[in-house]
Symmetry: C2
Subunit: 336 residues, 2 copies
DNA sequence: AAAATATGTCAAAACATTTGGGAAGATGTT
DNA sequence: AACATCTTCCCAAATGTTTTGACATATTTT
């Protein structure tokens, strides 16, 4: 482990000079700078992030906060893409990515905020968590730069997928294919759900159709068993819907199971649509009509905004950025 | 940001005493220890990892190395589970997890090993990468504690999924269901592939069946388009197979597409099986017969072994640990 | 009573880095 | 020649922690 001291020794200069030469300060002669950099390279020097962080309070490490539970964001195709995109974006700017947690399982657990400070993280990206958790709120309200994904706090930059527009496009498309009896199995209570649901009702009104109450049902995101049940309920109605919208693509598989188990065919007997645009949806028969969320863009923007916030805290504004999705017309919705 | 100095001041003791009291050294009186810990808590103290790492050369941070490309491990259901399991396991022992990279895109890129030392990572878990990459080899051969997943180096602990046994079980099961004309679309060249393929041939011999050469084909992992092509090729043979084994569950979806596009039904006309045990495979009709890899166990063991290696470098042996998978009998293989 | 032992605490050094203040020498200006 | 101005470099302090050897004080042994 070779340090600046070693370089200073071999170059016959002070440690301070080495530091300044390496960091490109102006008060170092051109030739010494070149000489120092050359020997640094020859000796195989690379800085020690701990020492630097200790001194500068900048770690070039950013934290990412995903929920830790069974339904971890990691195993969620959509969020996995978001995370990967974040990773690529921060790395391209010379930052590292560390998972933030609170050592739930341990005796001396610490809060998210404490963990952030303990590691000297420059900022945190929060996604896919329970935003009502007091510890999340504490973190958001602290002076740590934070960007949230798909949730809006007043004083933090948020990157939002355009859920309202998404569900509107989806519904309008289904309508354009002749469907009027449209059921909507929406997700469990959350900001995203609220946004989609109110947009759904607004669009229903705009289109001038009427949706019976029993067509609007609830199933937690990714809960295939519940969507299976709800789908069966819908199919068993005296007047079953001709088209069912699901909370997400993954959950739609529960619906598919219910439909095929009834001996019905998609889209000939029932049309369906999901939400998210997970990869596998494109590889089934029929390809799943859905709203492709731009997961990569969500992640990229989150990373970029956070780094802006970190590097130029004075001049960077808190923003609420909206990322558009895109309707994907598979073959799971039939024209009738 | 309150430090030991502050605690020392309010307690009227020296910084050294605070450090020892907090770290449980036994040369501190019981009452002072309690008093110091109490005020530390009251003041909201938590240690500064940079300072500690700088002094002790232990970061309580471990690196994880997944491939950075398009087919990132993050977006791969199986590896996402492995990663999540690693995360849970290291966190339960008080460690953090940081993505390792080499800043590919940047001008002053550094090697994986340099990055590891730069961050002072205590160890690295390597999975899902090109193990022939010289930089990986450099890292493995360094003095950094390393655990590899699904790849064997001589001097590092490896956690291996039992691929040989897995494919044997799968093949034997298919055989037991009466299939003799069994095709195998295997993955692209890699250690995992080699292991599965040689086990496949061994089992074929043991079972006393003969598999024509044109039944054994290749398609990269997760390449649904290629498996679709290869499946069509197989179906078009004068004597098509009655059962097709795919490189992985995801890739199997390409096969399913090919089969249904020919108007054939699974499993009535053709039986299929995947490998991995991704979640969605259980939610399709018919549920996909596959070999469930124990992704969580792979991740957990990797984390545990690495931490052992970090904490007891002298007494911990390099081990090659085998994690068993489990046959999942879905309904995609018909008894004939 | 002196010597040995045990206990509790402290001061200082060390880890690798950054940075403001200043020193020394060179250059330019009058 | 005197002075100011640059340029180039160094010094020393600071960041928060751990560790080591030293030093008191108290207790036990001779």
């Amino acid at each position: 482990m070779i340090s600046m001291k070693d370089i200073a020794a071999t170059c016959g200069v002070s440690i301070a000079t080495v530091s300044k030469a390496l960091n490109g300060h102006k008060d170092i002669g051109e030739d010494t700078r070149i000489y120092i950099r050359k020997t640094a390279k020859e000796l195989g020097y690379y800085p020690n992030s701990s020492a630097r962080t200790l001194k500068t309070n900048r770690s070039y490490n950013i934290g990412v906060l995903f929920v830790d539970e069974a339904n971890s964001g990691l195993m969620h195709d959509h969020f996995a893409h978001v995370l990967d995109s974040i990773k690529v974006a921060v790395e391209s700017k010379g930052y590292d990515l560390t998972f933030l947690n609170c050592y739930k399982e341990r005796e001396n657990r610490i809060s998210y905020l404490e963990h952030t400070k303990y590691r000297g993280l420059d900022g945190v990206i929060i996604a896919c968590v329970d935003f009502a958790d007091p510890e999340i709120v504490e973190l958001v309200e602290s002076n740590v730069p934070v960007v949230t994904i798909d949730y809006l706090f007043n004083n933090t930059t948020a990157i939002m997928s355009n859920n309202a527009k998404g569900i509107k496009e989806l519904l309008t498309y289904v309508y354009s294919q002749g469907h009027r009896k449209i059921a909507y199995i929406h997700g469990a209570d959350s900001a995203v759900t609220k946004s989609r649901l109110s947009s759904f009702y607004r669009t229903v009104e705009e289109l001038g159709i009427s949706i019976p109450d029993e067509y609007v049902r609830e199933a937690a995101y990714r809960d295939t068993e519940e969507t299976e049940r709800q789908t069966k309920y819908l199919l068993d109605l005296p007047t079953p819907p001709t088209c069912i919208l699901f909370p997400d693509d993954f959950a739609a598989f529960g619906g598919i199971k219910a439909i095929t188990s009834r001996g019905l065919k998609i889209p000939d007997d029932v049309s369906i649509a999901g939400y998210d645009g997970i990869v596998i949806g494109k590889h089934i028969e029929p390809p799943l009509t859905t709203l492709d969320q731009d997961a990569r863009e969500l992640g990229k923007r989150a990373a970029e905004e956070l780094i802006k916030l970190v590097e130029k805290p004075k001049t960077t504004l808190i923003e609420h950025i909206i990322v558009e999705g895109k309707l994907f017309c598979g073959k799971s919705v039939k024209k009738i």
